[in-house]
Structures are given as structure tokens and as C-alpha cells.
Amino acid sequence: METKVAKKKLGLKDRYKLLTRDLGWEPSYHTKDEVFPYVKYEGIKIHDWEKWEDPFRLTMDAYWKYQAEKERKFYAIIDAHTQNNGHLNLTDARYLSALKLFLQAISPGEYAAGKGFARVGREFGGVGTQVACQMQALDEIRHAQTQIHAMSNYNRYYNGFHSFADQRDRMWYTSVPRSFFDDAMSAGPFEFMIAIGFSFEYVLTNLLFVPFMSGAAYNGDMATVTFGFSAQSDEARHMTLGLECIKFMLEQDPANTPIVQAWIDKWFWRGFRVLGLVSAMMDYMLPKRVMSWREAWNIYGVENGGALFTDLARYGIRIPKHWDDAEKAVDHMSHQFMLALYQWNFGTCFHTWIPPEPDMEWLSSKYPNTFDKYYRPRWEHLKKLAKEGKPFKNFGLAKLCQTCQLPIIFTEPDDPTMSCHREVDYKGNKYHFCSDGCQHIFENEPEKYVQAWLPMPALFQEPLKGDLGAWMNWTSLIDGKDNGDYVGSQDERNFQQWRGLATTNT
């Protein structure tokens, strides 16, 4: 019998070399330009694709192994959640509004990111970049699937979860993330990387997943914590890919710097606006809160973003152009969003409410310079109207921003009592914006943004012609069940009744 000689296991660096770079080849019957037709037209100059390397050195074999492990952990918890009526462990069913928004507005974005990365994984020239982008494409599809699967358990019991896929294309608030991803996907591969890989993943997703998912844990929602952290474990890799890609572009040619800077300016502001919805979820929709939006911004925006841009300064990159406007907005935006969602709640597929007094006190302590001065008086007036039996519904609908597609609910950076009005005439038409940031994005590429499908103007065109009932049918919004105030809703009644059944014998 022969003695087995133990084969020496390959080191990480060797394995990475064999399973990425060595999978590539030099084309011989087509030119490189024909095989990769989209890598030049954006103006980015790449001299040596080999210089790009995944710092985690993750290879496909290891990828499948660890992703499978993540899935097993995820489904173990989802099964337990379903079997044990996990939905009744929530602190309060108000919390579900945050989940409904997540499912309608964010999960379809994961799927869109999957499509985008599948495409750039094909379009980029280097093997290392191709493999990393293909892994990310698979990750993003997994995120969409696990999120939908986890939240399908809530769909058995609660309203508002049922038609997220249609709503992604039809709802006025979901057109915001949709346009964000459409904008990125209709750009070239390098801009896509800056948009999603860098600005969204690196600068902004921490704000979405980390405090919000920790908040889910705090509110007894193990299903969401699990999909959130399971997704976020991939995000660490995505953020690293985004940062490496940006460093790669900057190191390849100094002429790339101004192009990259312009994309950073654009996509930071686009991302900041998209994530605005999360501020309302964190400050208003979590019954128990881990931290305020302001506190999260200080950690993940100011501190972490600051560290990142200090690091990139050696390439001549500066902090994104509208960073100061963002900083000024942070103490206002969650209130502006929640007040807006409240007055248009007849047109939302989730519930809103007037914050109960303890919540108002919390908001006042977290936003000492803004809440009592600017926002409490509005909530108090809304409370008065509701008490008189005339709860405020704003049937005026809203002026939408041509770029970010949000209702223009924002104020001047230096005057919180004055709405921000910005308009531009272009080729005989008028266009409106929520901010200098969005106006500049439009002015840089007007031909792109004049095509925006804005849901509120569309309501007055064929075929809806201003008919709100027809609009509700078209968006699959069930009036009186999915929308309106949480207080008195079927969700509230059911949650209290079932929780009563779960904790007593009567």
C-alpha cells in the first residue's frame, strides 16, 4: 500500500490567481474592443486590468461554500419564526410599516442591482473585476429572494405586503428607488460601479442595514434581522469591491479623476435622497429605537464618510459637492418625510400615525434644535384635526423633483421655514427640483432626465385621467385596508387580538 502524500493546500493568493486571472484568455478572432465595446465611451482610461485585485481574494469555490452556509442559517431562523408565530413577538404592529416600505421600495432595488452587476460583470475587461461583479450579481438576487421570502410570512397575516412587485413600477414613493437604479443601469459600466458599488454600497448602505437591522432585533423581528444581516455580510464584500474599483480607476490614469469626482458628486446626492425614506423608518416607524437617524448619520455618514474621503484625498478626490447640504438636512428630513407620508397616506400601501406623546418626547430629545420648533406644532395641529373628526388628507398631491422623483418636501438648507423651489427651462419645458444637488444633476445630463416618468403628473394623463379610484386599482392598493391611519386599522385589530390569544387562555 502506498503511503499517501498529503498535498499541500494552495495558499489564498495562489488559489485566487488560479481561479480568477487564469480563467481569462486573449481573444484571437475578435479584437478586445469588439469583445468589450462599452469600456471606453465614458472616457475612463484603463492601461492594465491586471492591477485590479479583490482584497478578500474570494474565489468561486469558497463563495459557494460560504453562501450556502449563510442560506442554511437564514432558513433555520425563518422556519423557526414561522413555526413559532414569530410575528406576534413584535413590539408593535406599527413596526410593519417599515417592513412594507422595505419590501416595496428596497427589495426590488436589490433585484435591479443584480441585473446591473450581471451586466457590468460581462462588460468589464479584467477577469478579477468580472468575477467579483458576477458574485455580487448573485448576492443581489439572493438578497431580493431572501427578503421577499422572509416577508412573505407577514403577508399571511397583514395588509400591504401583497403587491410589491406591481407597486415597484407604479407607486409614487417606489418610483424614487426605481429611478435611482434605472439611472445607474442606463449609465456605462464605470459609472454604474461608482453609483452602486461605491456611493450606494460604501457610503450609504451602512445607514440602511446596520442600525435599521439592529432596530429590527430590538423590535422582536428575528426574520428581518436575519435577512438583513445575511445580506449585510455580503455588503462588506460589496463595499470593498466599490472602494477597490474606485482606487483602481484613480490609479490607472490621472485623467480619470475629474470624471470620477463628478460621478461621486452625482451619486452621493442621488443616494442621500433615496435613503431619506430610511430616516422616517428609523425615527418614526420603529416602536423601539436603537439610535436616531441623526446619530446613525454621525457614525456612518460623518465619521465613516469623512475617513473615506480623507483616505481618497491622496488621489485628488474631495468630499462630494453637496455634502454640506446633506448635513444641514439631517435634522429635518425624517420629520419632513413622516409628515408627508401621513398627509398622503390614502395613497400608500402602509399605515402612518401621529406620533404618541412619548414618541414626540423622544424626537424632541434627539432633535433638540428642530423638532419642537418646526415639527411638533404641525403634529399638534394634525392631532387637533383628527380629534375633531377631520383627519388631514392632502388631496393636492405633490410637485415632484424631476431628478430624484421625490415629492418636493424639503426646505432651503438655511431656512427650514421655506420650501426649496428650483426650476429650469429646457427646450421650452419647465422642470422642477428639490435641491441644488438634483438641479445640477439634471443640468449635467438634461436629455436623460427629461424622460423621467413622474407618477403624479402621469395620474392626469391617459388612461387614468385623474381618477384616484382607478389609480388605486392600477397600483393594487386596497383602499381602507392597505392605507390610512394605523389607529383603527385591520392590522392593529388583528395584531392585538392574536397577541391576546397567544398570551392568554380566553
Binding site: L397, K399, I408, S419, H421, K430, E445, A458, E462
Partner: protein, 117 residues
């Protein structure tokens, strides 16, 4: 700047006035009255008299604000495209030069029940 593209890139606007079945969009808002989260979007015929626009959609929409009843419409200061402007109440929107997607603002100094000073 042109959109970076491999061939000529021309966008077609999705909400030009011809799509609104003879009507047009007019945005209207009252400065410093932020109970209303955004400027109101109205869709109205260009032949509508400015007076009808005020008496109809505008007065109805601002009604939930505690300052709604106190407006003296003869003293209101108007702006169009963020510039001071004086509408003629007996003329139509079109005759007043109000185009599709114009933004009209009005100011009522001294009335600010819900606004921080």
C-alpha cells in the same frame, strides 16, 4: 453636457402639455405654510379664470391650515417662477401667462400660526 453615449442621444419628455388632454399642470404653494408637505399639483384648463382657480382648487386645498380663513386676497403678494408677479383675477390662466408646469407662490406676511418665527 451631453449624455455620454455611443450614438446620438435625444430624450423625449414624458409630461409635455400635449399629454394632458387639453389641461395643464399648475403648481401652487403658500410660503412658510409647511403643514402642506409640498407645493400643490393642480391639473386645470388654461381657459380657467385666475379668480376661479383661487376660489376653487386653491381655497379648498389650503383650508386645513389654521391661517386659511385669514387671507386677505386683495393684499396677497404673488410670485411666478420665483419672481414677483401680479395676476389679473378676471383673466384666464393663459392670459395671465401661466404656462404648463408653472410654479405660483403667494405670501401672506404676518400669518404664521404653525411656522416658527
Amino acid at each position: 453636457m451631453p449624455v455620454a453615449a455611443l450614438k446620438e442621444y435625444i430624450g423625449v419628455p414624458r409630461d409635455s402639455v400635449d399629454k394632458f388632454l387639453g389641461q395643464q399642470l399648475v403648481y401652487v404653494s403658500r410660503d412658510h405654510h409647511l403643514l402642506f408637505a409640498s407645493a400643490f399639483l393642480t391639473c386645470v384648463p388654461p381657459q380657467m379664470k385666475f379668480r376661479e382657480f383661487v376660489e376653487g382648487p386653491l381655497k379648498t386645498l389650503i383650508q386645513p391650515d389654521p391661517d386659511a380663513e385669514k387671507v386677505d386676497w386683495t393684499k396677497v403678494q404673488w410670485l411666478k417662477s420665483n419672481q414677483p408677479w401680479q395676476p389679473q383675477f378676471n383673466l384666464s390662466l393663459k392670459e395671465n401667462g401661466i404656462e404648463h408646469k408653472d410654479q405660483i407662490r403667494f405670501q401672506t406676511p404676518g400669518l404664521n400660526t404653525l411656522s416658527a418665527a
